[in-house]
């Protein structure tokens, strides 16, 4: 009897142990690729991954690997890696790359995951619509993460010195660029340029505001209005209101020029605000790009995707959900100042009381994106910078430049 009792006890204990072991999920590792604008953001992403690993309770380990943004070449690096049979499970992503990746069947369709996701409604439905539109299908392939609306950074002290007030119209903005170009030490040379122009890759985003301000748009770049917008852009450079290096100035250069006091205004999004405040304290502020005949500013976007080659798609979605609406969303947007996609996070005091966030929100109603076509990536990376450089340096006219840009983007 005693032996039977011991046998039953051992059997029950064994079943309990086995049950506990099987209840615990099999450990999985998710490799995630991302880019970061500076070392602080890089450290933040590593911390978010570490926090997720410690708290997800599902034995998911995220290994966050950083790759350079490289003016947009990140997307091509990711594409080549995945096409070559490598690449990560999940990655940060830009909407403009969606056609390339979906045309080659590289992204996981998120419809089923989203249908089952309890936090789906925490994200504005219009964002899902934008994601569907970008894919050219009725499905969502990219998970919203954060957005950035471009606006104008300016130095209040330089505005005061030049006797300029914050421009309310496009014409006033052009006039401000002129007045803010100053010889501050009387040596006959320009020390401060009114506008920190971005002529290298990525410069198409601020440039777009000029085209729309004159009444142009991206559907037809050869209209007289669009050409006039281009002419304004050229005139700013040719008249000496932008640094002579502008045709080759990219993100690093425009930020360095603004931070060193070489430019009085420059256009970028809230992602730079923390660094700007670190440099200038209260002597930096922002205003939404003013309207003329039309009004437009670029809505930057950053999403996350699951690559089809991932063997752990469920775990990958857990991670993306953490970034979209979980603690990862708050941590990243607070650290970088980006506009959160989670409605809950948007309501936090940090975002409600941030002056740059207010300008971002002011610009949101007329913020848009460039046409997402299979030509867009080449147009952004090669055609736009070289064509605009030719126009800025007087090699071709505004009309000829716009004709080339039209052909490069639309093929005719």
């Amino acid at each position: 009897m005693k032996r039977k009792l011991v046998f039953v006890l051992v059997a029950v204990l064994s079943m309990m142990v086995l049950g506990a072991v099987s209840a615990q999920q099999k450990p999985v590792t998710i490799v995630h690729w991302y880019w970061a604008d500076n070392p602080a953001y890089s450290a933040q992403m590593q911390k978010i991954a570490a926090d997720f690993n410690a708290t997800n309770g599902k034995s998911i380990t995220v290994v966050a690997q950083e790759y350079p943004w490289d003016g947009g070449a990140y997307s091509e690096t990711l594409f080549r890696a995945v096409m070559g049979g490598g690449g990560p499970d999940t990655s940060s992503f830009k909407l403009t790359s969606t056609p390339l990746f979906t045309a080659n069947g590289l992204l996981v369709n998120l419809d089923d995951f989203l249908a089952k996701w309890k936090d789906k409604d925490k994200i504005d439905p219009s964002l899902y619509d934008t994601m569907r539109k970008a894919s050219g299908t009725k499905s969502v392939y990219v998970m919203p993460w954060n957005t950035q609306v471009l606006y104008v950074y300016y130095r209040p002290s330089l505005f005061k010195k030049a006797g300029v007030s914050v421009p309310k119209t496009y014409e006033e903005f052009l006039e401000a660029c002129k007045k803010l170009t100053m010889d501050t030490n009387g040596d006959g040379k320009t020390d401060v340029y009114g506008f920190g122009m971005r002529g290298a890759k990525g410069g198409q985003e601020p440039w777009g505001s000029f085209i729309w301000a004159r009444g142009g748009n991206f559907d037809n770049l050869t209209t007289p209005q669009a050409i006039q917008g281009m002419q304004d852009f050229i005139d700013l450079y040719r008249n000496g209101y932008a640094p002579p290096t502008a045709p080759m100035d990219g993100f690093q250069e425009i930020i360095a020029n603004f931070k060193s006091g070489r430019t009085a205004m420059t256009i970028h999004h809230i992602g730079s605000s923390i660094g700007m405040v670190d440099t200038f304290g209260n002597d930096v502020d922002a205003f939404a790009f003013p309207g003329g005949v039309g009004r437009w500013t670029s809505m930057g976007d950053t999403e996350n995707v699951i690559l089809k080659s991932s063997k752990n798609k469920e775990a990958a979605f857990e991670w993306l959900a953490y970034l979209a609406t979980g603690k990862g969303q708050e941590a990243w947007c607070v650290a970088t100042g980006n506009v959160p996609v989670s409605k809950d996070v948007q309501q936090l005091p940090f975002f409600q009381n941030n002056r740059f966030m207010k300008v971002s929100i002011e610009g949101a109603p007329y913020a848009g994106i460039f046409p997402i076509l299979d030509t867009t990536t080449e147009w952004i990376n090669t055609i736009w910078p070289n064509t605009v450089a030719a126009a800025l340096t007087g090699k071709i006219s505004a009309a000829e430049a716009m004709k080339q840009l039209q052909i490069g983007l639309w093929g005719k």
């Binding site: 045709p247 060193s260 090699k395």
Partner: protein, 294 residues
């Protein structure tokens, strides 16, 4: 009659090497040739198909292709030419005995052992129009009054990247020509001195003929390397502004980067053919000269 028995062993022994060479050299080359006859654009995967000579015809009608080809000719001829001249001068200097020669020889190798990407980034900052050290130096010397945006204007961008490639390649020529100089027997110069030859005559009648083979081989190697070089230009200008620094290899790289692999392969094949047009007569001349000297 004695017939040698066939043995598979020699073939088996070289098979691994042949397989590796085929996999890493011939297969990619054949693949590139095959792709050059296709509309192989990964942005439009559903449209990938055989298109015959369409890419070659497109290249012939592409003004950027011709512009890049002309840039390549200038890039190679000026770049390699001046590398050779300065490399030769450096080799002659380093061949003389002077205190600290070993240290100078070592230091002179720095540009050659520095990775091209790093050289591109370094010189990009040296030429920078806002904070670059070159502008600072020229202003301090009173040679210029306003900073020059070296890499942002078409008139100065291409000379700037050429200057960089010259700086990078000088040590290669110096090193190879120095080795050649050290192989010339002293007796030849002694005999020339006895015959009353001056320095000019000694240089053109002993030094140059003795280095002929070295000069041929090193120049050919550099022509091929410099023509194919992407790293320096790409890290300095990415081919801009307004395509003014876009050589053919950079154009190929830019096209491949935008995933139009068919067109990129076509231009790569055309570049290879252009290089062959230079290399084949060059090698023929070299071999002919060697035959004649026997």
């Amino acid at each position: 009659m004695y017939r040698r028995k066939f043995s598979p062993w020699p073939y088996l022994l070289i098979a691994p090497a042949l397989i590796v060479i085929f996999a890493v050299v011939f297969f990619p080359v054949l693949n590139a040739i095959f792709m050059s006859f296709q509309s192989y654009d990964l942005r439009r995967p559903s449209q990938i198909r055989f298109t015959g000579l369409a890419n070659y015809v497109a290249a012939m009608h592409d003004p950027l292709f011709w512009q890049a080809l002309i840039k390549t000719v200038i890039w190679v001829s000026v770049g390699v030419g001046l590398q050779f001249v300065f490399g030769f001068l450096l080799a002659l200097l380093l061949n003389r005995k002077f205190p600290g020669r070993g240290i100078v020889r070592s230091i002179s190798l720095i540009p050659w052992v520095t990775p091209g990407v790093l050289i591109g980034l370094m010189w990009r900052w040296i030429f920078d129009g806002n904070y670059g050290v070159l502008n600072d130096l020229l202003m301090r010397l009173g040679l210029i009054h306003d900073k020059i945006p070296f890499l942002a204007q078409q008139s100065t961008a291409f000379p700037s990247v050429i200057l960089t490639i010259i700086w990078q390649g000088i040590p290669f020529f110096a090193l190879m020509l120095l080795a050649g100089l050290q192989g010339i027997p002293e007796e030849l110069y002694d005999a020339a001195n006895v015959d009353g030859a001056n320095a000019f005559q000694r240089f053109f009648m002993i030094t140059i003929p003795s280095l002929k083979n070295t000069i041929f081989v090193t120049t050919l190697l550099r022509i091929i390397w410099v023509a194919n070089s992407v790293d320096v230009i790409f890290n300095m200008t990415e081919g801009g502004p307004a395509y003014s620094t876009q050589t053919l290899s950079v154009y190929v790289f830019n096209k491949a980067n935008t995933l139009n692999l068919g067109y990129a392969s076509t231009m790569a094949i055309l570049l290879a053919l252009a290089l062959a047009l230079v290399a084949v007569p060059y090698l023929k001349t070299l071999f002919k000269a060697q035959e004649e000297s026997k």
